[in-house]
């Protein structure tokens, strides 16, 4: 299929959007590079769909600028932005069959019938859906509707593909299959894609980079690995993957390290993250960062505890360990590697200092900071 070889990047510069008193998007700046698969990730109501719709031109920003390629598009209507948009509800035209839906874009852009048909067949090949083309949307399954919606967006000749929770309406198995198919198509066509989702595993699986949003703001942008390994806020550490949050105070700071006293006088070391002596902090440790051993062991950063609950999750085993200071820590280990522990056993947990992330204790409180709504 012919495509314009100039693929766009997308720049969002200090964009704000208000709906009466609610600030849905709050002074957001982002740069999505050409051919990048970029995800906007966050809980419901964080502004990610609003931001996507601003890029699409379906709503206009109150402040700021949006560039697609080098072109300022604030006043450009959606039909002139050369985008493809996949709606959460698919928005397939109920009065047109699948084929007419797919070929709608080429037709309204003035392509001749033959060309529209050729494009239609090409995109349907890509989404592997040639059956049921005479069917109307009400007669199609969720997975089929989703493929038609994607095919329709691609057939319009979009340089930029915008996807608003495209898999949200589908069951888990179909969702898992289709996420990779969409990723493959975007890569094969050299498109730039911006994908909105609240599912962090979906975002992590297919994105080149992810922007984590909360309450209209972008908290962190990075690759999936960066976000997982180096979250820069408690919310990101909590929203991406799972973390143990332990409260403590900074006892001393030495070079790249800080000595932290947890509740009950337990002392541990963590990598220094611009913290001051005496400061109240939260220590975030991934469950898989812990080393768990039977009995009392002398280790760097040892914390003693008792196994309170064991859950077999198939690939992993999950241990809930009541620490000596009464905090509860979750430890996740591969089920086929290493020994297993039983409920009631005394264990020693330890972790490398660089795997613990230190955050200043949030003013609004930990619960509020972690809240997803």
């Amino acid at each position: 299929m012919e495509r314009n070889l100039t693929m766009p990047d997308v720049r969002i510069v200090n964009v704000t959007k208000r709906f009466e008193k609610i600030v849905a998007v709050n002074n957001v700046s982002l740069h999505v590079y050409d051919k990048e698969y970029f995800s906007l990730l966050g809980p419901s109501g964080c502004g990610k769909t609003t931001l996507l719709r601003l890029i699409a031109g379906l709503i206009q920003p109150d402040e700021g600028e949006i560039y697609i390629g080098d072109k300022l598009v604030n006043d450009v209507p959606p039909e002139d932005r050369d985008i493809g948009f996949v709606f959460q509800t698919f928005a397939l035209f109920p009065h047109m069959n699948a084929w007419d839906n797919v070929t709608y874009g080429p037709k309204v852009k003035g392509f001749d019938m033959k060309k529209a048909e050729t494009i239609g067949h090409e995109v349907l090949d890509m989404v592997r859906l040639h059956e049921r083309l005479d069917a109307f949307p009400s007669e199609l399954s969720g997975g089929m509707m989703q493929r038609i919606a994607v095919a329709r967006a691609l057939a319009a000749g979009a340089k930029l593909l915008l996807l608003d929770e495209p898999l949200g309406q589908l069951d888990a198995k179909v969702r898992n299959e289709l996420r990779y198919e969409i990723r493959r198509m975007v890569r094969d066509l050299d498109l730039t894609a911006i994908h909105v989702t609240h599912d962090q595993s979906e975002a992590m699986a297919i994105s080149d980079r992810i922007a984590v949003m909360k309450k209209g703001k972008v908290l962190q942008v990075g690759t999936p690995k960066e976000l997982y390994m180096n979250p820069i806020s408690i919310f990101v550490a909590h929203f991406i993957g799972e973390s143990n949050f332990l409260e403590g105070y900074i006892l001393s700071v030495k070079g790249n390290g800080a000595l932290i006293e947890l509740r009950g006088g337990v002392k541990v070391q963590a990598a220094n993250k611009d913290v001051e002596r005496g400061g109240r902090v939260i220590l975030a440790i991934r469950p898989e960062a812990f080393v768990i051993e039977r009995g009392v062991k002398k280790r760097k950063n040892p914390v003693l505890g008792v196994v309170e609950r064991v859950t077999f999750e198939g690939t992993n085993i999950r241990y809930e360990v009541r620490l000596e200071n009464q905090d509860l820590a979750v430890v996740v280990k591969p089920s086929l590697v290493g020994e297993w522990f039983n409920t009631g056993e005394k264990v020693t947990l330890s972790f490398p200092p660089e795997k613990a992330h230190v955050f200043a204790y949030p003013e609004a409180g930990l619960r509020e900071e972690m809240a997803v709504e």
């Binding site: 699409a56 959606p78 035209f93 009065h95 037709k107 309204v108 967006a153």
Partner: protein, 556 residues
């Protein structure tokens, strides 16, 4: 708070299937016995009198010509209403100015002006020296065919606007947005996606406009003829005026009346069924696109022009003519017949009696409709007797809407008089019940359909009996639709003229005004204006009060 014993008993009874279905069956029987069958059987009872007409070819031709005029006007007016009403509805729902709320309310004005007053207002505006004719030195539009079209256009227009506004407000904008993201300019998106999806609503709007036009009698009589030597001479005859002019001196139903009523009923039902069946199959032109032209039509110049034309059409052909009667009314207040009117002197005694009768009748009919119409609405919405039966009832309920009220009235009179001496007031109630029943049932059934059955089921699982479910779940959630339906029933009844003239010699306010205009009762133009003014004012106050109750709660 413990329930009153009677409510408890009724609740308990409602769980017995025989009681529940008995209520529904009674509603269906009441519909057939009081609403649907009497008008149809009335014609059959006097079938043999049609021979009078068939033996007189000239009379037959005149009757058929009059009926043809009715349908021609109704079809033309409905088409014009849809073509002009859609852009107006679009402007109201998609426009950005706050003044559009005012426009939305103004577009309903012809609803609250009783058709008798509306007819006189248009007559003044277009034909009389007091109106625009003063600019031209002679009547701009003389009474006759064209003035009938203008009148029918004015009072059917708000029906179309209201239906299309409702459809656009319920419409999922995502479809149009999807179309825009695929490269379609706004005009193409609207044409190929939105209007196609809204086709059922546009067909419904067409049918409603058609039925309103075909039904209208009183105001039509005002604008369709002139006075010559004190006698009313129809210049343009339609089915309704033909029926009126052929009623006997004591309102007896003659052969020509039976003939015209029969033809009108058959044709109306046929056209209705054809539109219902063929309308959905009508393909809108969505395959072909003209990108360059439609892009230009999407630009602000084209849309501003379209909006300007919509507004001009509305103001010149609907709003100003509808309210023009306010001028003589105001003139009458300052140094006119106001003191006489308030004193009930001369013609005013009959006027006030007529007004009281109109409102009493409106209230009685509204109440009766709620009693027999609510169960029917539930039967249709919840498919209590199965899908097919409900769909059939849904169609049958609309039949009284599309039959000319004069024909309906004449036929009802034949039917009920064949049983026994029915008091005139009862005949009148039956006639108004027939005409207004579809408004309440349609409004209520649509409201019940919008309520998820999950809510009723949840209530039942918590122990509520069927009547309790209705009282505590359905009724609270639909009470504003009940209000809405009640408002429509009330205004329709107050406005009704044709059936009233056909069934009885009792004189409601619209009938009195029609007689004043036709000079059956001598009245000056100021007196007529004042009478219309009172009618509009009281109707407006009642409607405003009801509407504030409805809108004040945030639902309609």
């Amino acid at each position: 708070m413990p329930k009153p014993k009677i409510i408890e008993t009724l609740d308990r009874l409602s769980s017995k299937p025989e009681v529940k279905y008995g209520v529904y069956l009674t509603a269906v029987i009441a519909f057939f016995a009081l609403i649907l069958l009497p008008p149809m059987l009335g014609i059959i009872i006097k079938w043999n009198t049609m021979q009078q007409v068939l033996n007189q070819p000239e009379l037959t031709a005149r009757a058929l010509s009059a009926i043809g005029n009715s349908f021609a006007v109704a079809l033309l007016v409905s088409a014009l209403d849809v073509v002009t009403g859609i852009p107006m509805a679009w402007l109201i729902t998609r426009g950005k100015s706050k003044l559009l709320n005012v426009l939305d309310t103004l577009s309903d004005i012809p609803f609250i002006v009783p058709t008798a007053a509306l007819g006189y207002s248009l007559l003044l505006f277009w034909s009389k020296p007091e109106g625009v004719s003063s600019l031209f030195g002679s009547p701009l539009v003389s009474p006759g065919w064209l003035l009938v079209v203008l009148l029918h256009f004015a009072f059917s227009y708000p029906v179309v606007v209201r239906v299309v506004v409702g459809a656009l407000l319920d419409y999922k904008m995502e479809y149009e947005q999807a179309s825009r993201t695929l490269g379609a300019p706004p005009f193409t998106a609207s044409r190929t996606v939105t209007l196609s999806i809204l086709k059922p609503s546009l067909i419904a709007a067409f049918i409603l406009a058609f039925s309103r036009s075909i039904s209208e009698t009183g105001a039509t009589m005002m604008v369709a003829g002139i006075l010559e030597n004190g006698n009313y001479v129809p210049l343009s005859e339609n089915g309704a005026t033909f029926i009126q002019t052929h009623l006997g001196p004591n309102n007896e139903i003659t052969g020509p009346v039976v003939f015209a009523s029969f033809i009108l009923m058959i044709l109306s039902c046929s056209i209705f069924i054809i539109i219902r069946l063929l309308g959905p199959r009508l393909k809108t032109p969505i395959k072909k696109v003209w990108p360059a032209t439609e892009r230009k039509l999407s630009y602000s110049v084209a849309t501003s022009s379209r909006n300007g034309i919509s507004l001009l059409t509305f103001f010149i052909f609907v709003l100003i003519p509808s309210l023009f009667v306010a001028l003589p009314a105001i003139e009458a207040i300052f140094g006119g017949p106001l003191p006489e009117a308030l004193g009930g002197v001369r013609i005013w005694g009959e006027y006030w009696q007529g007004l009281l009768l109109s409102y009493w009748l409106g209230a009685a009919v509204t109440l009766l409709n709620m009693v027999i119409g609510l169960p029917m609405a539930i039967i249709i919405a919840r498919e209590k007797f199965g899908k097919r039966a409900s769909a059939t009832l849904d169609i049958l309920v609309n039949i009284p809407l599309i039959v000319t009220s004069a024909a309906l009235g004449a036929s009802l009179k034949i039917f009920w008089e064949s049983f026994a001496l029915i008091p005139e007031i009862l005949l009148l109630i039956f006639a108004h019940l027939c005409i207004t029943y579809p408004y309440l049932v349609r409004s209520m059934s649509a409201a019940v359909e919008r309520i998820s059955e999950d809510l009723e089921e949840a209530s039942r699982t918590l122990g509520a009996k069927p009547l309790s479910v209705f009282r505590t779940i359905i009724l609270p959630l639909t009470k504003y639709s009940i209000f809405s339906g009640a408002i429509m029933v009330f205004t329709r009844s107050v406005s009704e003229t044709g059936a009233t003239l056909a069934v009885t010699k009792l004189r409601t306010a619209p009938v009195v005004i029609v007689d004043w205009v036709r000079q059956k009762t001598p009245a000056t133009s100021l007196e007529i204006g004042l009478g219309c003014g009172f009618l509009i004012l009281f109707s407006f106050v009642i409607l405003l009060a009801l509407r504030l109750i409805v809108r004040g709660k945030g639902r309609y």
